[in-house]
Amino acid sequence: MENKNEMILEVESRSCNEGLVRIAVAAFSTQLNPTLEEVADIKTAVSEAITNCIVHAYDTSTEKIRVECRNNKRELTVVVKDTGKGIEDIEKAMEPLYTTRPEQDRSGMGFAFMEAFMDQVTVESAPGKGTTVTMKKVIGRQNPVFE
């Protein structure tokens, strides 16, 4: 069986959509037969990426967030794209505890959580041009029960 699939989702940058995207990506990932722990990892990472779009990229306006998911053999790829304000210093933004919004109770752990829960996180961004976060995770490191 060819183990390939793709899903593209576009939502408005409203906080009520965070749960929706998280659940949709988690449901998509179940085709790779993940453990509960892996599903929880994916949900957390996706939630962080979407929250970044809403809180930082689009800040005051409501625009579109595009989420692309791909299954390829055992690897899940999730791409979260916005066309918002972009990141000036990506390295700095990815530092744990660094945040531009301490007064809004942001913990500065967003990228740190994405990196902790996914195998690979890459960020492409330019000020004024938006940000693309690509996350990859190999599912089923332990032998899956069903094949």
């Binding site: 906080s15 965070e18 749960g19 998280r22 929880a40 957390t44 939630s47 942001r106 752990m109």
Partner: protein, 111 residues
Amino acid sequence: MEEYMKKRGTMLIIYIPRELDHHFAEQITRAIDQELERGAVRQLVFDFSNTDFMDSSGIGMIMGRKRLLSYSGGTVSAIHVNDRILRIMQLSGIYKHIEISQEPVWNYRKR
């Protein structure tokens, strides 16, 4: 939001919903801060017995409330935390700042 809170003397208990993300954290934060402004809260308790998802927005919410309460010498704790939530708390380093109890829920009360 009031159904998520209970006040007992100087203790304010917050029943965290099933998922604590940026969306819910903002709403709960507003409700808690209103209550804190009235004063007389010395212990803030977050009850996670119903919760199976939390992301960094939850961490931000707890740390922010901890900061507010520390001015008046109050304490913050999290109870009935499951393994997943505990892992998030450990990763973020928040476990050094608040008291965390994993004790299971014996008397499960319906809200």
